[in-house]
């Protein structure tokens, strides 16, 4: 699914990532790496391979676009350092792209550890008329890409049918990313009729507005 914003071209991907063609930049929000390990460390037996799958999807998505840059819109790591950091570290060596992390509220891992891996850390990023943040942010004349919310919408039909889907939530000057991580929930939003909604369904991105 391709969307034009401010004359730039964005590929909305089934994984919840967006590829920005003009910048060759892959945008990804709320991966929450290390969440599974964090739970396990505290005695909650979440299947360990849930974590592996998260990184595997990340790799597959990157391989598909081969971007020059990868920008994480916050909450890359769920909590403090744990064994999943090692996996992430080897992944950064494997990929050729420049990696940027826009800090989110969950990102508590010391910045120097990221810098040692060559990851660039920012509180926000401005590219042309685009403002990249973790928390939804309004600023005049800018279009905001952000995460944090883990948006979802409810669909309804005849026969009292309702379903919930994770989605890209686009308003006039903002696009909120779905959470990329597989062990994250979603928060149901109620759009207005001016909003554009793209849901993730059966491995596809479908426009429903």
């Amino acid at each position: 699914m391709v969307v034009k914003i401010h004359n730039n071209t964005f590929d909305l991907h089934k994984s919840g990532a967006i590829f920005w063609q003009e910048q060759s930049m892959l945008l990804i929000a709320d991966v929450h790496l290390g969440k599974v390990a964090h739970f396990r460390k505290h005695g909650a037996a979440i299947p360990a391979h849930v974590a592996h799958e998260n990184l595997e999807r990340l790799t597959n998505t990157v391989d598909e676009f081969r971007p020059k840059n990868i920008c994480f819109l916050g909450d890359l790591f769920h909590s403090k350092l744990n064994t999943e950091w090692e996996d992430f570290a080897s992944w950064t060596q494997y990929t050729n792209a420049q990696i940027i992390l826009v800090n989110g509220n969950h990102d508590v891992i010391p910045k120097y550890l990221f810098k040692d891996l060559g990851v660039q850390i920012e509180d926000e990023l401005i590219i042309d008329s685009f403002l990249l943040t973790h928390h939804p942010t309004k600023r005049d004349a800018f279009f905001n890409f952000c995460g944090h919310i883990h948006p979802g919408v409810r669909m309804q039909g005849l026969g009292r049918q309702t379903m919930k889907f994770a989605c890209f939530f686009k308003t006039k000057n903002q696009l909120i990313f779905p959470a990329f991580g597989n062990f994250t929930g979603k928060y149901i939003l109620e759009p207005t009729k001016d909003d554009e909604i793209f849901v993730l369904v059966d491995g596809e991105v479908v426009s429903v507005s």
Partner: protein
């Protein structure tokens, strides 16, 4: 001293009080003194406390002949009660007897409400009798040196065992007893139960399975030889009490609604009843209904202000105790309550009971009726208030049931791995455990008599590895194993989180409601408060409150003067007709199909039955009715087995699944106690359903399992399981701990297990429990066999019929689909902001 000498001490005490012991009391004393275990079947208010506390004291006298001058330290007995509210009453009775006999014995209470300092004091120096709850007993097993504390026990009495039996707290109790049997060699186990259908089984569950399987497992181990059921007795009090059931029949039947569960239409008709009696308890089926009734009575009859009160499980303890006290000293005219007042406490001044809405079970109805009028010889009076027209049939059926003394079973849980895991971590937290020693104890319980070596190993792996194989770089940490093979917990945080979670077996995902300025109002379910934004108002505990903020599982609120219709609602508490009730109900319908109309309730319903027969029929015993019609919601297909909600849930899912195999289709399912609906956005050919023999009992188990996979039922069961087994941290209502980065919900976990580890025993348990406890698979089979013998009557109607109306308007629904999501989404629209 001989037993007869001992019991004569008690006899003379009874005499000084001007009482005479009942035969069942004396029988219990003697059985206890003979060293027997047992189950006492006696109703509330019958003197059951003295039936069992007396011989405990007598045994002490026997063991300590100079008891009047020298007190022997150490705990003698534990008295388990399911409700904290009951403990005070038991303490008073027990202490009085111990004091009058100059034994110097002490009685203490230990529940969630007991202060830290009091608990510490108790641990150092246990009272002779400890009154406690299953959870608090578990917490004692989670403390170091518990074996020394309990060594001196002569008895454990489990009060209101019928209440615990069909719940996971019952499993907790079974496990605790399995440990105590080993550490307390003198201990006898006694249960007290109201009348239920399966009393013998209740006794087996309490005392443990003594079958061959467990014996062979026990053989080569050092477990103490506990004779369990073999040396036990069932004593029935046989105190009959006359119960009078009166239906409140609407004065104007034309305006009485076809659906609904509140019953407010008849509010005016209960006022004369309230005025006539000293104190009335108004029983509702859910806490939300309780809130609403309280609110509405005051709105319409402000003169009752200060004279009526409300009592349910989510209101804070002080208020509840105050209400209970106020009932006792006759300062209240009426109390609106839920099952929180079902049990125990004797309220002598209560003269009348009003039951709002179908009680769904006969045992529950009788128990509630029994709350009134404890004067011997006089009948208990209970008024039944129907909430919609169809419930009048239930009222008529109830009367017959009370006459026939039909009783339901309480179904015990089997193989509750979540509770087992919690228990194993409990033992690891205290002194640690050796699996070899514990396994035979567990295998000897009723719940785990069928556990296999593999399942046992699975549980051990789960608490030590967090999976079934060792993983590289894994940091999983809960239970460790030392060089001797002892399983133990080393981290203080793990231990603390575990202790806090033990109490959560009864309440999951509860949020505290507090004033911003401080002051605790009560607890409500997270799902309700989760839907609200700061500034929204709601009614709870009889007050209008505004949500200020939600923080750390606490909702901070302030009083609001705004008007709101948003009254707190609770998920739990929907009950289903028991099979016994269902059968009586079907017989009532048969008499209606014959147009007998021979009871006041059925007479009142004449108009509605006539209306039903306009387009459809009132099905008799040999007919199975199916109605179809179209409204703007879609195509309704309504089926009427009259088997109770749970069976309909299973049958609805089964049928929807089988139909969905014929062609891609999506259903929304609703059910009540009379029937179920399959609602679709496309028409359904009922002839096709009949021709394909979709009600067949062939492949029943298989199809049912598959239908369960496609609906959300098991997902709901999983909530409890995830909390009890310690995978979801909820903290504990009174103590919030920092778990910010550990918050997840059971829904997310359910998905993760479905996608990544479907063979997980806890995940599978959710399905098994839905089967055994929600669907009552056995009943489904019988129901289908019955339908096979009936004539199917398919009525294509123009409009909704009176029978269908309560079902099709139910909002709590399941869904089942065999269509691709992508195809479904094409016909759907976004839910937009209003």
């Amino acid at each position: 001293m001989k037993n007869s000498q001992l019991t004569s001490i008690a006899d003379s005490w009874f005499e000084t009080k001007g009482w005479k012991p009942f035969p069942f009391q004396k029988k219990t004393w003697n059985a206890f003194l003979d060293g027997k275990n047992g189950l006492l079947n006696a109703p509330t208010g019958s003197g059951k406390t003295y039936a069992l506390w007396t011989p405990i004291v007598l045994q002490y006298i026997k063991d300590n002949p100079d008891y009047k001058t020298k007190h022997t330290k150490g705990i003698k007995a534990i008295w388990i009660t399911p409700l904290r509210a009951l403990s005070v009453e038991i303490k008073q009775a027990a202490q009085r007897f111990a004091d009058d006999l100059e034994t110097g014995m002490t009685v203490g209470i230990r529940t969630g409400d007991t202060s830290q300092s009091e608990r510490a004091k108790q641990k150092k120096n246990m009272p002779d009798l400890l009154i406690t709850t299953p959870e608090s007993l578990m917490l004692l097993l989670a403390s170091k040196g518990y074996d020394k504390i309990f060594k001196t026990l002569t008895a454990v009495v489990v009060d209101e065992w019928h209440e615990l039996l069909g719940s996971k707290r019952g499993v907790q109790m079974e496990l605790a007893l399995s440990r105590l049997k080993t550490v307390s060699p003198q201990m006898r186990i006694w249960g007290i139960s109201a009348t239920i259908g399966n009393l013998e089984q209740a006794q087996d569950v309490l005392l443990g399975a003594s079958n061959d399987n467990s014996l062979s497992a026990v053989k080569d181990n050092e477990i103490k030889d506990f004779e369990g059921s073999a040396n036990s007795i069932l004593i029935k009090a046989n105190l009959k009490k006359k119960i009078v059931v009166k239906s409140i029949i609407p004065k104007k039947m034309e305006t009485f609604p076809w659906r609904g569960h509140l019953g407010l239409h008849l509010l005016d008709q209960i006022i004369p009843i309230l005025n006539k009696s000293k104190t009335t308890i108004i029983f509702t089926n859910t806490r939300s209904q309780c809130e609403i009734w309280f609110q509405k009575i005051l709105e319409k009859y402000p003169e009752f202000a200060g004279e009526i009160a409300m009592h349910h499980g989510s209101i804070n303890k002080e208020t509840r105790l105050w209400v209970e006290q106020a009932i006792r000293n006759e300062s209240l005219k009426a109390v609106v309550a839920t099952s929180s007042l079902d049990l125990g406490v004797d309220f002598a001044p209560v003269e009348t009971i009003i039951q709002i809405g179908g009680p769904k079970g006969i045992a529950k109805f009788l128990q509630r009726a029994g709350r009134s009028n404890h004067r011997p010889g006089e009948p208990s009076v209970i008024h039944f208030l129907p909430t919609h027209a169809m419930e009048l049939i239930e009222a008529s059926a109830l009367k017959k049931a009370v006459k026939g003394e039909v009783m339901e079973d309480r179904i015990p849980y089997l193989l509750s791995f979540d509770v087992l895991i919690q228990y194993l971590v409990t033992l690891a937290v205290s002194d640690g455990f050796f699996p070899k020693k514990i396994f035979p104890e567990i295998k000897a319980t009723f719940c785990f008599q069928g556990i296999t070596e593999e399942q046992w190993q699975w549980c051990l792996n789960f608490i030590t590895l967090g999976s079934q194989s060792l993983q590289a770089y894994d940091e999983y940490k809960r239970v460790l194993v030392d060089d001797d093979g002892r399983f133990y917990v080393d981290s203080r945080q793990t231990a603390m989180m575990h202790r806090l979670s033990i109490g959560t077996i009864v309440s999951d995902a509860m949020v505290q409601v507090k004033y911003v300025s401080g002051g605790f109002i009560g607890t409500i379910e997270e799902f309700f408060i989760g839907k609200m934004k700061p500034g929204d108002t709601f009614v709870f505990a009889g007050r209008t409150l505004e949500l200020v903020r939600l923080r750390n599982m606490a909702a901070q609120v302030r009083r609001s003067s705004k008007k709101t219709r948003n009254i707190v609602s609770f998920m739990g508490g929907r009950m289903a007709l028991s099979s016994q009730m269902s059968e009586i109900l079907r017989n009532e319908l048969q008499s209606e199909a014959d147009h007998k109309r021979n009871t006041p309730e059925l007479k009142a319903l004449s108009d509605i039955f006539d209306r039903q027969e306009l387009e459809s029929i009132v099905p008799g015993n040999n007919e199975f009715l199916i109605e179809t019609f179209k409204t703007r919601e879609g195509y309704h297909n309504v089926f009427y087995p009259f088997e109770g909600r749970f069976v309909h849930m299973a049958m609805g899912g089964l049928l929807a699944y089988r139909i969905s195999l014929l062609s891609p289709i999506t259903f929304s399912l609703a059910y009540n106690d009379y029937g179920f609906e399959l609602l679709s956005d496309q028409p359904l050919d009922i002839q096709n359903v009949i021709d394909n023999n979709l009600f067949s009992t062939e492949y029943l188990f298989d199809d049912l399992q598959k239908s369960l996979n496609s609906t959300e039922l098991a997902r709901r069961k999983f909530r409890d399981i995830a909390v009890i087994s310690g995978m979801v941290f909820t903290g504990y209502p009174s103590k919030q701990i920092k778990t910010k980065h550990l918050q997840s919900n059971s829904q997310l976990l359910f998905d993760v297990f479905r996608d990544y580890e479907p063979d997980n025993l806890l995940y599978q348990q959710a399905f098994r429990e839905t089967f055994e406890h929600e669907m009552e698979e056995g009943r489904l089979q019988l129901a289908l066999e019955r339908i096979a013998k009936q004539t199917i009557v398919w009525k294509q109607c123009e409009d909704a019929t009176p029978f269908s109306f309560p079902i099709i308007t139910d909002r709590l629904r399941e869904k089942l689909s065999s269509e691709k999501l992508k195809d479904r989404i094409k016909r759907m629209t976004l839910k937009l902001m209003k």
